[in-house]
Amino acid sequence: MSAPVLELERVTYTYAGAEVPSLRDVSLSVAEGEFVVLAGRSAGGKSTMLRAASGLVPHFHGGTFAGHVRVGGLDTREHGPAEVARIAGSLFQDPESQVVLTTVRAELAFPLENRGHGPAAVARGVEEAALALGIAPLLDRATTELSGGELQRVALGAALAGRPRLVLLDEPTSQLDPVAGDELIWLLRRLNEEWGTTIVLAEHRLERCLPAADRVVVLADGAIACDAPPPEFLAWAAGASPELQTPVARMFHGAGITPPPTGVKEARRALRARGIDLDAEGALDAGDTTAPRHPKRRERRAAALAFDGVWHERRGGATVLRGVDLAVAPGERVALMGRNGAGKSTMLRHAAGLMAPTRGKVTTNGRVALLLQDPNDYLLHEHVGEEASATALAAVGLEHLVDRHPHDLSGGQRQRLALAIVLDSPGPAAVIGLDEPTRGMDRAAKATLADRLNAFAAGGTAVIVATHDPEFAAEVADRVILLADGRPIADGPATSVLAGGWYFATETARVTGGRALLPDAGAAVLRAQEVVAP
């Protein structure tokens, strides 16, 4: 076993002004070259542990600190974050706040210049980091022009420019779309496997990173609840913390199959070994029934929301929507899916009247309540009670928090508050639109949101969710519309669109060959197959 590059020894830490500690007697040792995933529900202590490892706790955040953190042999009690940065690179959630200079080249050079490297060493460091992360074509681009995924890669490049032995990442994919998130995880895997960089990654979507991980450390209420390799962690999660199970692990657990697989490939292999062959022949996919169709006049008239040949052409720019025809019935639950720039957010903005079509028209049979991506953008007052009426707050379960400052709420509570704000009118909304509501949410919060949306739909409100998350779409939608280049390319029941897709498919669908979308249904399929298999 190689020497630990990160060592926490009985660390207890309480933020300044907080009443309870965020870390409680945490001891952990991470060896050189390990890939460690930090798991746990929101506010469990993952971010605090990473900040302690980077030296920001306690040097930057203050508070009460007990124990020792050693990074590459440097005790953070004696060495501040700037010194620790020579050994540990850090990456946080929000890409916008982590890129401080105006061009990519300057951003990558910044940490090297801070260390007093000469121009030749800086140039080499920039070149190597850019090539390793595939961002060389961006070097002379302005950071203000980059997408979230590109910005996050640049921030990772800046963290890696000095070739640190350890990289600490705090939910770096939470603000990214799944494609950019998957690319980032792939990069981390490559860094770990090819260059031996030690990775400590806090992440909610465990199915993304478990196949690459050596260990999973679960933090609950500031203490380590589990520290084990991925298969053992999944076995532990099945009993102690089911919300941390990945979809395929949950499916296997439901079917009574052990050990739980860490990924799709392992799941397929395990099923084949048991004689279960789930080819695509029994898929739920109905083929041509997912082709988009023009709604009939009667459908349009009865719809909660209708798009009639809607175009959106930017002045001097691209065409975002191309003649979209669509009718959403009252109480219908629709998921809009598609890659970034496909037109999902633009469609929601048109539905809510924030944008006007350049051709065609949008009609609604009542008010459209739209929840945009960041719930923080809705918070304009000093108290929760000033943001929305008591009735609206009660509808989202926040009536007991009227005196709190909105920014003191948790992420999930803020989203519920934003929902109360947009729904706060005497009559019910005809349509609720949500743009990427599950970014950065843990599985438990997603389940709560799905329940809430299903309740609204049951009351006759049409629900439209723009999302990249196939699992969430399968949970909340009975109809999925796949957009590409500003127009629907598939429109049909969730069971058809999400079962037959390759990229737009749930993990369960990928393992079961499209026979089921969600773990519980997948488990039933596996149980039935087990009976059939000799």
């Binding site: 920001l56 706040s97 953008d377 304009l380």
Partner: protein
């Protein structure tokens, strides 16, 4: 209006050379007296902007400055008592007193306005075509912290502008419409300011983990001088030399008061052409600009 790297000789030049070239054009405009020279400098700045692919941005600044130039000319003609060629006697007008509009005051005011327009356009060209990071790297040699503070301010402006756009959009999504008028705008402003504080904390944490706490004075770079660096530096020096020469030896004299006395139009035209040629020559080289 902000810097964006484009394929142009000016963008390809190092910030010291590009910045000196823009500054030399502005200085030439401040020193120039003859209208022909000033008009030529204005056209040179616009031609330079076209050569750098940023004509739209610079022309927008020039168009925005034009009414102000006109105001300067009008104020000058109203308040200046000098000049012998009276265009109109307006009598006693408070608070200006006896107002005689003279041709000389009008011409002088117009030239002053034009000078202002050229300087503003040269500054706009500097803003959109000279790499601020490169410039700040130069400043780091003098003061690391001041340079970084300036960079962060530069970076935060577009970020906060996009925050404001998002928050305004969210305000319009509120069930009550988010209110109207000054109160609604204040609410958005307060939210943006509050967000700016949160962002500032995040940025400060990022600076810490990028080793800013141990930042040292930057070392002189050994970057070789490209053809564009040399061309713009040489052009800046030549413009500055011509500006000084034109002041020391009045090649194109112009005195507005008491009556307009202008040197030969021919010599002024030669001087104007020299400025244009010297300034625009570096933009001809198109190799290695991407």
């Amino acid at each position: 209006m902000r810097y964006r790297r484009r394929a142009s000789p000016l963008h390809a030049a190092r910030a010291a050379a590009g910045g000196a070239w823009c500054a030399a054009l502005a200085a030439a405009a401040l020193a120039a007296e003859h209208p022909i020279v000033l008009v030529a400098l204005a056209l040179t700045v616009l031609a330079g902007a076209a050569g750098a692919g940023v004509l739209r941005e610079v022309a927008r600044t020039a168009a925005w400055m034009a009414p102000w130039a006109l105001v300067v000319a009008l104020v000058n003609v109203l308040v200046v008592r000098e000049g012998l060629t009276v265009l109109a006697r307006l009598g006693e007008i408070p608070p200006f007193g006896q107002v005689d509009l003279t041709l000389e005051a009008l011409v002088y005011g117009a030239l002053f306005g034009l000078r202002l327009l050229v300087v503003a356009s040269a500054f706009a060209l500097f803003t959109v075509a000279v790499d601020p990071d490169d410039l700040l790297r130069l400043m780091r040699r003098a003061s690391v912290r001041s340079a970084l503070a300036a960079t962060l301010a530069t970076r935060l402006v577009p970020v906060l502008a996009s925050d404001a756009r998002r928050i305004e959009e969210a305000r319009r999504c509120r069930a009550d419409g988010g209110g109207e008028g000054a109160a609604a705008r204040m609410a958005v402003l307060r939210a943006v300011a509050g967000g700016a504080l949160d962002r500032a904390l995040d940025v400060a944490a990022t600076l810490e983990v990028r080793g800013y706490g141990t930042a040292r004075r930057g070392r002189v770079g050994a970057r070789p001088w490209s053809r564009h660096d040399l061309a713009f530096a040489a052009s800046a020096i030549a413009i500055a030399a011509l500006t000084v020469a034109a002041r020391v030896v009045p090649i194109a004299p112009f005195a507005p008061y008491p009556v307009i006395a202008s040197g030969g139009a021919a010599s002024a035209s030669v001087l104007a052409a020299a400025f244009a040629l010297i300034a625009l020559a570096p933009l001809v080289a198109r190799r290695g600009i991407a």
